[in-house]
């Protein structure tokens, strides 16, 4: 049997809006992936520690509070420091278009905006997790 893709869905920062994170977690699970959801109010350090401990293939970051420019790159940098730079990191939330390029330059592979379907996210992960 093919190995299941393992994904960590995480809520960095103080934002409590986790409807999207939970819906995506469930959709990925229904698509046959193994999903761990961190719960809200995680620091980048906690997220990276969980990701390494659980040996995940990918991390999905959700933030609707506007703190994404600080928090998302911090997660990617910490992963690289810990030698886990190959983990595929994607993000979602209320993220202005003008921030997307900066986040991609920082190493976030893709940003999913309000209205994105879970199908798109699933297809993206399947395509990019090696």
């Amino acid at each position: 049997m093919e190995k299941k893709i393992k994904v960590l869905i995480a809520k960095p920062g103080l934002d409590g809006h986790d409807r999207g994170a939970k819906v995506v977690s469930r959709a990925l699970r229904d698509a046959g992936m193994e999903v761990i959801y961190t719960g809200i109010r995680q620091t980048p350090e906690q997220i990276v520690a969980t990701a390494i401990q659980e040996d995940v293939d990918s991390i999905g970051l959700s933030c609707l509070s506007g703190a994404h420019n600080k928090l998302f790159p911090k997660v990617v940098n910490l992963l690289r420091e810990k030698g886990a730079g190959d983990v595929l990191v994607f993000g979602g939330g209320i993220i202005p278009d003008e921030d997307i390029q900066g986040l991609k330059d920082a190493g976030i592979a893709e940003i999913f905006l309000p209205g994105a379907s879970t199908e798109t996210t699933i297809a993206f992960i399947k395509e990019h997790v090696k």
Partner: protein
């Protein structure tokens, strides 16, 4: 014709009509096999007299201002005064937000509503590490009384009512408000407004909790008791379904879980020694208004009736004011689309109209750009104008509860009430709200509804105009409100200046007293008021309470 004859004749005609329907269906099937609301209530093809057979006008509907308040809480409703038009606002620094408030008041808004940033809502100062990147983002940053003085600069607190969306640290922000008023020469008995102060829903729908449930309930009942004696015109809590709905619940779940929280607060207050008729009149509620127009109108009517009955039956409330559900409504943030954002103006208009037809006491209308960012001034003005057009031009405010007596609306009102009550009984069986939260009951129910909704959008069963149908290629939106990163640095600088300029001994003494009071179990409010007056910061005050009460960890 006798009553029985009439019924028989009605049944006969109904059968005839059904024949006609069947003929039509054989040629033109309907759009769906079954039509349902968000709560899974069937929307029948046609509602008629038989659907309201069980509704007794005097028992179940009654008159506005009278038990069970189905038709509204005041005898004249909007013929006397429109609902309060209250736009939730706050971003960046206290100075920026103060400018927005004075703009809104100048545009005819009739009450203020403060949005705080996340560090403030979770009891952290702007200079703490956990606040990094969040300062001033989703609301205004308040670190100490100094910020609060700027926030209400040139706004006379005896002339305006202020609602504050603050929960776990509600006591601290209320204390700061009292202190600002005192500096303006306004005594606390003149203050009118609301603190959200509804921590229970934070554990399962909104996330800005600090302390575990038990000390949280203690702080809440301390506030009830303090306000009863010192702020008689203050709404001590706003029991909120808004965020439950945003988290994905159905309309019925919104009513049920909100009222279940309400019952827990009333129970706790009575247990702490308060008389129900001494505090219940200052309880207020806060609901969402979503897209399913008729279900929403019925939801508000059902919520009022159910609360009145529960207060009377479960707690033996005697005063009418103790059974009256007064509520604020906000249009559904989660219904806004980032695609073709101008369409949101239309959604908000329909939702606002449903809230008014449902008899809301105050209303916030969302701005068209809120799926993208905080609203710009132009967007906020259109949102406020939407309310003003409904109030002054549509005519719906000129008669009370105009949809009463509609077979469909009365039937739906009864159905929502019954279904919500069934949920409340289930929560009773689990041992009450706190136990239900620990068991993950509400979280699971809300999660199931949210996921079912998402699936229905993705299959196209639920059409969202501009998202999964009628889409267009769009250029990225321009003219969005951004909070600059420098704001966070500025806020930290001004906090440092406040800390350098205050009487350090007075601060440390006031915090010491606060700790003693917290450990003793006495009412916390006087010590918190004393502490904020020394410019002890929000983070310092909450820090002491964190040490005494511990912190809640999501399981």
């Amino acid at each position: 014709m006798s009553c029985t004859d009439k019924k028989a004749r009605l049944a006969e005609r109904q059968t005839q009509w059904q024949g006609m329907v069947d003929k039509a269906l054989s040629r033109f099937p309907e759009r769906k096999e079954v039509f349902t609301t968000t709560s899974g209530i069937e929307m029948k093809r046609l509602f008629g007299p038989a659907d309201v057979d069980a509704v007794d006008y005097l028992e179940d509907v009654g008159f506005p201002g009278e038990f069970p308040f189905t038709r509204g809480v005041q005898p004249t409703m909007y013929r006397g005064r429109f609902w309060t038009m209250r736009q939730y606002a706050g971003f960046g620094s206290a100075r920026q937000t103060n400018e927005r408030y004075r703009y809104l008041l100048g545009q005819g808004q009739t009450g203020l509503s403060v949005a705080f940033d996340l560090p403030t809502q979770i009891g952290y100062d702007s200079d703490m590490e956990l606040a990094d990147g969040e300062v001033g983002k989703v609301g205004v940053a308040i670190d100490s009384l100094a910020d609060m003085e700027i926030l209400f600069d040139q706004i006379a607190l005896d002339q305006v009512s202020t609602s504050m969306t603050i929960n776990a640290p509600a006591a601290v922000l209320l204390a700061m408000y009292i202190a600002v008023a005192e500096k303006q020469g306004v005594s606390s008995d003149k203050l009118r407004g609301t603190i959200q102060n509804d921590v229970l829903k934070e554990y399962f729908a909104r996330g800005t909790y600090i302390f575990p449930p038990q000390p949280s309930m203690k702080i809440i009942t301390d506030i009830f008791s303090y306000c009863k004696d010192n702020l008689p015109n203050w709404n001590t809590i706003s029991i909120s379904g808004y965020h439950i709905r945003e988290a994905g619940s159905s309309a019925v779940q919104e009513v049920a879980f909100t009222l279940a929280d309400g019952l827990a607060y009333v129970g706790a207050a009575i247990k702490s020694g308060l008389d129900v008729d001494d505090f219940a009149k200052r309880l207020s509620f806060f609901f969402n208004v979503h897209n399913n127009f008729l279900e929403e109108v019925a939801k508000f009517r059902a919520a009022r009736r159910l609360w009145a009955r529960l207060m009377k039956e479960r707690f033996g409330a005697k005063k009418a004011a103790s059974m009256m559900m007064r509520f604020h409504t906000q249009t559904a943030g989660c219904s806004l689309t980032a695609q073709q954002p101008d369409n949101n103006v239309v959604r908000v208009t329909m939702q606002a109209l449903a809230a008014v037809l449902g008899g809301t006491n105050s209303l916030h209308t969302n701005s068209r750009d809120e799926a993208l960012c905080l609203p710009t001034e132009d967007s906020v003005r259109i949102a406020l104008r939407t309310q003003q057009i409904i109030a002054h031009e549509s005519g719906v405010a000129d008669t009370i509860d105009p949809l009463a007596g509609s077979y469909m609306v009365e039937s739906m009102t009864s159905e929502i009430e019954a279904k919500a009550l069934a949920y409340i009984k289930k929560i009773d069986d689990l041992g009450g709200v706190v136990k239900a939260i620990e068991a993950g009951f509400m979280q699971q129910e809300i999660g199931d509804s949210a996921y079912a909704y998402q699936k229905s959008v993705e299959t196209g069963d639920q059409v969202i105009v501009g998202v999964n149908k009628f889409t267009v290629q769009e250029a990225p939106p321009t003219n969005l409100l951004r909070i600059k990163q420098e704001m966070e640095i500025e806020q930290r600088k001004s906090l440092a200046a406040v800390k350098a300029g205050r009487d350090a001994a007075a601060v440390s003494n006031s915090l010491k007293t606060l700790r003693q009071v917290a450990e003793s179990g006495d009412n916390l409010m006087p010590a918190i008021v004393a502490a904020v007056k020394t410019y002890a910061t929000l983070g310092e005050v909450c820090g002491v309470l964190r040490e005494v009460f511990g912190e809640y960890i999501e399981s």
